[in-house]
């Protein structure tokens, strides 16, 4: 069970509302793509799942987000929030390796939170690096600065790092938008592998990527969930006019400005 449920979720930064009335259920062991034009609120929704938006002053969330049936926003003390975050991996748009060696990138979070031996941490790190297909490429320079890796390798390192903690839910915020097609392909391959034991929610601007890798897709527009469902179904038979335009690439920004969903 690694389900996520959004129940009547609304969100605002100060006075500016960015999401309203979101109802969505993320089934376990699936890849769920969140798509929609820039500024539609999908990233805000993603960052609410592990309460990363708490860091932003003036952020308010209404409704509730349930992870495995437990309400995320009911957690009151900071330590419970940190425990929640440790159980949820997060991959960002820009790869964010720490300014240290490849191996330390892997072991620091593990040693911090799991408090086990350095040897155990190293073994797990090697296993995770193999899982993301990075091990063979970097096995000779595990102690080299992570920043020297290519963008795609850095992103795979970040994915491997997020797997160092026992996280069964992965949040990905446009994980491939800064990468070349070959790196993107490698990451998509990893996603299929990870899906076997984990649930993945992925924000993407790449409609083709959503079509290729996701089981389900949700289309957001102007802070509202327009349509959601099985990916093949949605791309083949979009119910809504906007969805149809967006997934076929015929919705251009100038038109978007004029459209309003009531």
């Amino acid at each position: 069970m690694n389900t996520v449920e959004f129940q009547n979720v609304g969100a605002q930064y100060g006075d500016k509302a960015v999401l309203s009335g979101i109802e969505l259920e993320i089934p376990a062991n699936s890849i769920y793509a969140l798509i929609g034009p820039s500024g539609c609120g999908k990233t805000t929704l993603l960052r609410s799942v592990n309460r990363l938006n708490d860091l932003i002053r003036g952020f308010i969330l209404t409704g509730s987000i349930m992870v495995d049936g437990k309400s995320v926003y009911s957690l009151k003390d900071k330590e419970s929030v940190r425990i929640l975050r440790r159980g949820i991996g997060m991959i960002f748009q820009k790869p964010n390796p720490l300014p240290t060696s490849i191996m330390k990138n892997m072991t620091i979070p593990y040693l911090e939170h799991v408090r086990s031996s350095a040897k155990e941490a190293r073994e797990l790190a090697l296993e995770r690096l193999k899982l993301v297909g990075l091990y063979n490429e970097i096995k000779d320079r595990l102690d080299a600065p992570a920043i020297r890796l290519s963008g795609g390798q850095q992103q795979r390192l970040c994915i491997a790092r997020s797997l160092m903690l026992p996280s069964n839910l992965l949040l990905m915020d446009e994980p491939c938008s800064a990468l070349d097609p070959i790196s993107t392909y490698k990451i998509e391959e990893i996603l299929f592998e990870l899906k076997k034991e984990r649930t993945i929610i992925m924000v993407t601007h790449n409609i083709e990527q959503a079509r290729r890798v996701s089981d389900y897709t949700a289309f957001f527009y102007n802070g509202v969930l327009v349509e959601s469902g099985a990916t093949h179904n949605m791309f083949a038979h979009p119910q809504h006019d906007y969805t149809q335009k967006y997934v076929s690439g015929r919705m251009i920004e100038s038109v978007l400005q004029e459209v309003h969903i009531s």
């Binding site: 330590e79 975050r85 720490l98 979070p109 939170h113 997020s162 903690l165």
Partner: protein, 309 residues
């Protein structure tokens, strides 16, 4: 159109002249110091203690003022580093906006506007209190039994005062470095479930280390160059006045008076007791070289840091 072109040419010429004047003055200062001071520089000059009074022939060497500058800089920076790092961490990550943050910023701005002579005067008022006698030496009344007040001038007193003096500049440059830490590092650490303190100590401070070191070196340079605090809080002696030999009695030396290169320059110059312009210039040359070396080390560290990225 012609009119506009002339304006543009005048503007460029004016900028060029301003730059030329600045560079010329800089070179002139350096050249004067080098030409006037170079003949005095010798191993003997660097390793001999000063005369008891600068009025004496030649003012003597600069061994203890040189050590004095190093001692004072170390004491000052060792006190200033934890204070300013904690302050900048607090204002960068814990209290980034609101009334309290504005209050802290205002206090730092005001402190940076207080002339060092005023800070020195304040230090004297504080450190002459008899309770603080452990930082300097006691001033006893006729019988010698009762400590009436502390002398209030010593390396420790001057070092603490220097630390206060450089706080605003060091805090500002450290804060700048910490605020420049990429948002993605902070988000990443928080998403991995780190608490804020771990994020600060393991991620933000190491990532900002270059800027933090720059701030430290900036502060060290300020201490080396200051005269007013030395003059009031370190005392008006050229030699180390603690129990001799001073280098075997450091605990006592630190509680007693001494001199630095800046105060030596002052005393040796016609404005002080001496008439030894050439000696003052020689000491100036040594001071400038030390500060240049310090800056070069930072530039080198910065260069190495950037090539690793």
């Amino acid at each position: 159109m012609k009119h506009r072109r002339i304006n543009s040419m005048l503007g460029e010429a004016y900028s060029w002249i301003a730059v030329a004047v600045m560079v010329a003055v800089c070179l002139l200062i350096l050249l004067t110091v080098i030409i006037a001071g170079k003949d005095q520089i010798s191993w003997r000059f660097l390793t001999t203690i000063p005369s008891a009074s600068a009025a004496d022939m030649g003012s003597g060497g600069i061994s203890t003022p040189l050590i004095g500058t190093v001692l004072l800089t170390l004491i000052g920076i060792i006190i200033a580093i934890p204070l300013s790092l904690a302050t900048s961490v607090y204002t960068s990550f814990y209290r980034t906006s609101g009334a309290a943050a504005r209050g802290i910023g205002l206090a730092i701005d005001i402190l940076s506007g207080v002339p060092t002579i005023v800070i020195a005067l304040f230090a004297l008022a504080i450190f002459t209190n008899p309770q603080l006698v452990f930082l300097s030496t006691p001033v006893q009344n006729g019988g010698g039994a009762i400590i009436e007040r502390a002398y209030g001038r010593s390396f420790l007193v001057a070092g603490i005062t220097m630390a206060i003096m450089i706080l605003p500049a060091v805090v500002k440059s450290m804060t700048e470095a910490l605020r420049a830490v990429p948002r993605s590092y902070i988000d990443g650490a928080m998403a991995l479930g780190a608490d804020k303190w771990r994020m600060v100590t393991k991620i933000a401070v190491p990532a900002a280390s270059r800027g933090i070191v720059t701030g430290i070196v900036l502060g060290m340079g300020r201490i080396m160059g200051d005269t007013a605090i030395v003059w009031l809080a370190l005392g008006g002696t050229l030699r180390m006045t603690g129990q001799q030999p001073w280098y075997f009695n450091m605990a006592d030396t630190l509680r007693n008076t001494g001199s630095t290169l800046t105060s030596y320059i002052y005393y040796a110059s016609p404005a002080g007791e001496g008439q030894n312009n050439d000696v003052a210039f020689a000491a100036s040359l040594v001071l400038i070289v030390i500060i240049l070396i310090l800056n070069a080390i930072t530039a080198l560290l910065g260069g190495l840091g950037s090539s690793r990225r």
